[in-house]
Each structure stands twice: as C-alpha cells, then as structure tokens.
C-alpha cells in the first residue's frame, strides 16, 4: 500500500481540490504544483475537511512544529521563563511561567534544572525561538502535561516516536502493557519517558523500546518477553 516517493516525483492524488499538505510536501507558488521534498513513504488520508498528503520520512534532527507533543529537559531558568532543550545540541526553546495551569504572577511553577516536562509546542516560527506550553490553552487545564517525575528516558528515532503516537493500531504499547503497569510520555522529538512501579520493569520496558524500533512488529512480542525474563531471572 505504501508508495515510496522521492523529491521530484508526483503525489498520487486524484483531484487537486481541498488538498491539505503536510510535512515533506511543497506547493510551488508559481505553478501551484505539489511536489514532495523529502524521500519517504507517501501518506494520503481522507477526512471530512479534505485530503491530507504528507511524506513519512525519518530524520535525525527534530525541528519543532506547532502542536507537537514533546518531552523537554529544563536546562535553565530565567525571571519569567524556563529554557528547555528538546534534543541535545539543538537550539533551546522557552517555556513561559505563564504556560502552566493556574499560573499567575504570584503562583510560580517549581521546576528545577534537570527536570523533564511533557509539553506542547505552541509557537514555532522559523526565525524565533520556539515556545512550548504545559497547559491546554483552550481549557486552561493541565491535560496530562507537566513535570515527569522519576522514571527514565529513552532516545528513539523520530519516525518510531511518530508511529507510536499517531498509529493507534501499532501493537507495541499494548504488548508492553501485558507484562506490567507503566506510565509513558512519548515526545515527537525522539524522547520517550517511561515509568513503572519497579526499577527492573522500567529497565525492561526501556530496553524493549530501544530494541523494538529496529525490528519488525512480528518480532516485538518475542523481544519484550526476552527482556522481561532477563530482569526477572537476574533478581531472583
């Protein structure tokens, strides 16, 4: 079903009406032609609003885009905002003190340098520092955003993180859940935070996540049970 396309190819679209272009697609302003600008799998989905076309490709560097759910690391604090790193060696983003639930001038968030936060990218202009927020700005509720306490972090590829977030049928998380309870926060920026009651379970989860990203879905079950067996045997 998936079609591989490269820059210069044409999208396989039936009509040009109501097309929404996603990442990896470009509309030439002069000729109004749609061309892919990245090499990867063509994804065309139909929805009520129209047809969405984008290219699913893997890249190494995360570039913030509005609406992305990310796991950030606080690297500095200023008078009215935090500096947050979304990936090592990339430009930091800001997290304003006002972007928290029930924020006010008096009520300051209590995050420290080195803490992890789950947040949403709310501003991502090319020339400016991106901004993230820990609150759903429409409702003012925390919506699951905020400080991620304890647990650990796994560095995964960007494509793997997108797959985990957007593909509801991807079986990995439900496979993991069969072994133990856990909390997870998947950042589109290639960071997965995971936490469970016991250290060894967290360890098995993170090892499984790391290994599964390089293996087809059919092998996942085997890999996960291997890692769980490993930690349970070692401790007994």
């Amino acid at each position: 079903m998936s079609v591989f396309i490269a820059p210069g190819d044409d999208f396989h679209l039936e009509s040009r009406d109501n097309v929404i272009l996603g990442p990896g697609a470009y509309c030439d302003p002069r000729s109004q032609a749609f061309t892919p600008v990245n090499a990867g799998f063509e994804v065309i989905t139909e929805s009520k609003k129209g047809i969405c076309a984008h290219v699913e490709y893997n890249s190494k560097r995360y570039v913030p885009a509005v609406g992305d759910l990310v796991v950030g690391l606080i690297t500095g604090s200023f008078s009215d905002s935090y500096r947050v790193s979304l990936a090592s060696f990339s430009t930091p983003v800001t997290l304003s003190y006002m972007a928290f639930p029930n924020a006010s001038k008096k009520n300051r968030p209590t995050l420290k340098v080195g803490d992890l936060v789950y947040a949403r990218v709310c501003k991502a202009d090319k020339e400016l520092e991106a901004e993230i927020e820990c609150v759903d700005s429409t409702t003012g509720k925390d919506d699951g955003f905020g400080h991620l306490e304890h647990g650990t972090l796994v560095q995964a590829s960007l494509a793997f993180c997108r797959e985990l977030t957007f593909n509801a049928e991807y079986p990995l998380l439900s496979l993991l859940a069969k072994h133990a309870q856990f909390e997870v926060a998947i950042g589109i920026n290639g960071r997965i935070w995971i936490k469970s009651e016991e250290i060894r379970h967290t360890l098995a989860f993170s090892r499984s996540l790391l290994e599964c990203q390089d293996h087809p879905v059919s092998e996942h079950k085997h890999i996960i049970s291997k890692h769980f067996k490993n930690v349970l045997n070692a401790s007994s």
Binding site: L73, T75, S85, A87, S88, F89, K112, G114, D115, L116, L148, E149, H150, G151, T152, L153, W193, I199, R200, T202, L203, S206, R207, N230, V231, A234, S235
Partner: protein
C-alpha cells in the same frame, strides 16, 4: 567539550537506582568488558577496533627523520589522539585542550610511549643522523564511552601489525627496499599494555563516602557514554601480561578505599590477560590469511622426526 549532552536528573536517579539493584542498562555485569572487535585493513598498521558502539581507527605510518641530538641511538615515536566532531557533536574541531581530551592523550602517551612498549632503539638506522619516525594516528569514529581503553588497544594492535620497509646500510648510504622487493620488518614491541577504565558511582551521599566505613561505592568496568556522563569518579589502570602496573591514573573524583582500588587492579589483570590473548590470536589469524600460499611456495618439506 564544546557542549554537553543533555541528561536529566530522572535519568541520573534511575541509573543509580538500577545499579543499586545490580542492573546495568545494557544487561552487562558490573565487571564485564564489552566484546572487542579487531579488524585489520589491507595495509600494514591499519586497524579498526570496535567495542560496543565505540569505534576507533588507528593508522601507523613511518618516515625517515633525524634523531634528537641528545638521543642519537633512538628513533622517534609520536601518538596523535585528536578528537573531531566525527566522533560525536560534543567534540569540537581543533580544540584539544578540554579536560577529558588532555587526560585521554596523556594516559595513552604514558601507557604506550613512556612505558617503552615500542623499542625505539630498534628504529635507529644510522646513529645520530637517520632513524625511523613512527607515527600512530588515532581517529575516533564513534563515541559510546571507553575511548582510552579502545584507543590503547587500537594503537597496540597497529604497532604489532605494522611492518616497516627493510633498509640496507652501506656506510652513509642507505637503501630503502620497497615492500615488493623485500619482506618488510615488524616493529620491536616489548610488551602489550592494556588499559582498563573503572567508573565509580556513589549510591549514598557525599558525607558517607568521605567519613563512613560502608564502602558501598559501585564500580563499573568499561562504562558506556551515558554511564561516563553520570559517573562520580574514574580510575584507569594499565597493565601488561607480565603482572606489571604500567600506569594508574585516578585524577581526583570520588575518594575510594585503597583496598578497593587494589581489588580493581587485580580485576583489571584478568581482563588484560583475555584481551592480550585475543589480540595475539587476531594477529595470527590475519598473518595466516596473508600467507595462505606460503605453505604452497615453501620449499620446506615435512620432516619425519
């Protein structure tokens, strides 16, 4: 280092917690060295060593130079260990005055050059005027911890593998024979130093470490990059198979009980033994593959004894 890799406090806590329960992230034991892969190139003195995801390439080359005036009977030997962004974005180009880089190059220098692993007197051609200058260039291709250990293995493998062209001396006239003309000669390697790096972690607070008698400090062999970033102290022991301590460097860091350090040295010796055996067997395999036709061309015949 220009910029450091970001690491969160949750990860640091998780690492210590899992170490306390006896787990390492890559499911190795605390005293387990990663598997060492040694690959020889087509040319002599061209070695790539991989340990886990760390990859180091070493190239040995030689040229004819003039010896130092105060040491007319000794050849020259340089080791260059320059890190570049090729190994990872945390390394800066052309800036090798960072603390870790200086320590790394000094330890390699002490372990290999100052310990006399290479017989420099054997590099002399004409006393006082001509000698071989041997150069080891170490390139770090990928970084996942353990640079010192891996580059030491790479340099030693390179030196053992390298062959220098044969020379004949007639008075002041010297002739260098090309590799096709005459069988090149190996370098005189006197012993094989092996570096083993220990990383220390303090599971208690600082006061317990200094005042207490618990000695609960955790010590890991051959740390990965993440473990290296979070460790409290480090110790590099260099030994050879003759049970000689060639070099020890514990430049500060977590204070450790002297007996524990001695224990580390003994553990390092076991690793030294296995690694030395591996190096010699890999070298032999390479030599055999190069000389696979030697038996055919040889005029020797099996003797009945």
């Amino acid at each position: 280092m220009a910029k450091d890799i970001d690491i969160s406090s949750s990860e640091a806590k998780f690492l210590i917690d899992s170490l306390k329960q006896g787990f390492r992230f890559d499911s190795r034991g605390f005293e387990e060295f990663r598997d060492v892969g040694i690959e020889f190139g087509k040319d002599f003195g061209d070695v790539t060593v991989t340990v886990g995801r760390t990859k180091v390439h070493c190239r040995i080359s030689c040229s004819i130079a003039q010896p130092y005036e105060d040491r007319p009977f000794e050849g020259l030997f340089y080791i260059s260990t320059e890190s570049s962004p090729m190994a990872g974005p945390q390394f800066e180009n052309g800036n090798n005055t960072g603390e870790d880089e200086v320590l790394c190059s000094r330890i390699i220098e002490k372990a290999v050059r100052r310990s006399g692993a290479l017989d420099v007197e054997g590099l002399c051609i004409v006393a006082g005027s001509k000698c071989w200058a041997v150069r080891a260039d170490v390139h770090f291709l990928n970084c996942d911890g353990g640079f010192i250990d891996v580059s030491c293995i790479a340099v030693m493998c390179g030196l053992l593998h390298f062959r220098k062209p044969d020379v004949t001396v007639a008075g002041e006239q010297i002739t260098v024979h090309s590799l096709d003309e005459r069988e090149p000669v190996p370098l005189g390697v006197l012993h094989i130093p092996i570096c083993v790096t220990f990383s220390f972690f303090n599971p208690e607070d600082a006061e317990e470490n200094i005042k207490g008698d618990l000695n609960n400090e955790i010590c890991l062999i051959d740390a990965t990059l993440k473990e290296e970033l979070l460790r409290d102290g480090t110790l590099t022991v260099t030994l050879n198979k003759n049970r000689e301590v060639v070099q020890v460097s514990k430049a500060g860091g977590l204070p450790m009980d002297a007996l524990m350090l001695m224990d580390c040295c003994h553990k390092a010796y076991k690793i030294t033994e296995t690694l030395t055996d591996q190096i010699t067997s890999e070298l032999k395999r390479d030599a055999d593959s190069r000389n696979q036709f030697a038996a055919m061309l040889s005029s020797e015949n099996a003797r009945v004894s």
